[in-house]
Assembly symmetry: C2
């Protein structure tokens, strides 16, 4: 797992890159800076492209199940497509394999990739394999989304309610290799409600809600006692900063928020969504109301007291 500070450095690295590059042509709706790139597709549709690299020692440890690592490699990119409101279609995978036991490792990896591909109906249509001292897997996923269902990070409005799709924190203890991309949940949301912004929680609520706030030009206030904690997580800082939860973070207008809560009340088997706060134009950044009624700033690198 990359430490928090490293993650933030990476963010600024990508942003620096984007300035060097050729400006995008008119078919590009969203370039670098959201969960996936968006380009024009067939009439009424956009195409989505996302890529995620997993490196041994950073995203998984040497000795962890190769089958689970393969599953995770594809699942991370499917989660990005879900966060745009779309459906994944195709995947291509590049694998850098250490020479020792290359065939055994590759077989396990691809078994995990195949199980994820079947589960989410993704066609693996290409790949490249190479020698590498440490295991590296890079996964590229192509998706599609109806124009009306596309959700960006930047669409939140003042007063919108903030939701997450599940309890947070402690993913490093194992869930980060076995999580379920919230594809079904995201498709349910975009097909039934007007989701104003969405992101998948890869770097933790602290960083990712700051991303939504910043992209939308707003602030966010969240309530400590409303933030669902994963089993075994006792401290709020783990729910905010552990990362790799891969739950959805999204915003709805107050009207749609009430509609969602009514749907959940009516149907006890409904997917669980947790309302944790609301967007505001009164300040920038993310603030949390603690259990003790204090307000703290939730930065990308932890709490700051006022």
């Amino acid at each position: 797992m990359a430490t928090l500070l490293k993650k933030i450095k990476e963010v600024s690295l990508i942003e620096r890159f984007s300035k060097v590059l050729k400006p995008s042509g008119p078919s590009v709706i969203v370039s670098i800076g959201d969960d996936a790139a968006v380009v024009r597709g067939a009439k009424g549709f956009y195409r989505l492209y996302t890529v995620d690299m997993l490196v041994e020692g950073t995203h998984f440890k040497k000795g962890e199940s190769y089958e689970l690592v393969g599953y995770k490699a594809l699942a991370v990119s499917i989660s990005d497509i879900a966060a745009m409101g779309g459906e994944p279609q195709y995947a291509l995978l590049s694998v850098g394999l250490p020479e020792k036991n290359a065939l055994v490792v590759a077989k396990k990896l691809f078994k995990g990739i195949a199980s994820c591909a079947r589960k989410f109906n993704v066609d693996v249509i290409g790949g490249d394999t190479n020698r590498s001292d440490k295991l590296v897997i890079d996964c590229f996923v192509v998706g599609t989304v109806e124009e009306r269902n596309l959700v960006l990070r930047s669409g939140a409005k003042p007063g919108d309610h903030i939701f997450v799709s599940g309890p947070l924190g402690g993913s490093i203890l194992g869930k980060h290799l076995t999580f379920e991309p919230r594809l079904k949940e995201a498709r349910f949301l975009v097909n039934n409600l007007k989701v104003t912004s969405m992101i998948d929680l890869s770097d933790g609520l602290g960083i990712d809600l700051n991303r939504v706030s910043s992209a939308s030009g707003l602030g966010a206030v969240i309530f400590e006692d409303k933030i669902p904690k994963a089993k075994g997580v006792t401290k709020i800082k783990n729910a905010l900063f552990d990362g790799e939860d891969f739950e959805l973070l999204f915003t709805l207008s107050q009207r749609d928020s009430f509609r969602l809560l009514r749907m959940m009340k009516k149907n006890k088997n409904a997917m669980p969504f947790y309302q944790i706060g609301r967007m505001t134009d009164l300040f920038d950044g993310v603030r949390m109301m603690t259990r003790h009624g204090k307000v703290e700033e939730v930065g990308c690198d932890g709490f700051k007291h006022f």
Copy 2:
């Protein structure tokens, strides 16, 4: 540079993978096994997807110009799209960077990527950056091709003439970092002739012509004195087995072959193409007629004498 034997091991690794994976849906025209995957696109078009990973120590040496490495990372994938008869549109890049000097290295890499992107009119629309002990760059390119212009490895017919787009061998001495993907040449060919099969020469004429022969279910005979050698290359084995030439290898019917030769004769500024042999249904594999009138088998791992 990967040695020849390693390359061949990689080929069989990809093929093993493809059997484990979920069978592709009906929108997939070509899955793993050609220069790029082909799926249905807008009416009259196919979409092309390709991925190539470059690893420090395998595809470039530590200390080589990062700007040239960046250029190569994108150029290799553009070459794959060209070999399908298509045009590249979008690229996404994953980069694994050593912690030391990460920003300096990234800046140079992306300068090289940007210069290649501008030259071939490709929009870089996404990426992922990570920490990695050794530098890894993985490049995905999305392309498009008119249905009538799609060229696979498998379409060669008995009697077809075999061509290459430039002199071969010695790429490791520097050209492998500065080569020009033969996009213009490939588009000229598919727009003016019926190209029956095509591949880009990434692993050398020896391996890649065997790939075309095998995919087309035919044999090939080439003539030693017709094979153009790059400047500084004196031995035929370097022209056949060095790899990373990134020239086009393609086949034309006898009629189209004569048309191409006439076009070249008429126009002295025309692109140079070299006729090196022909396809046959008399045997499998690749055989070469030497300068001395002997016939040798050109395997994936060198010559075999009869």
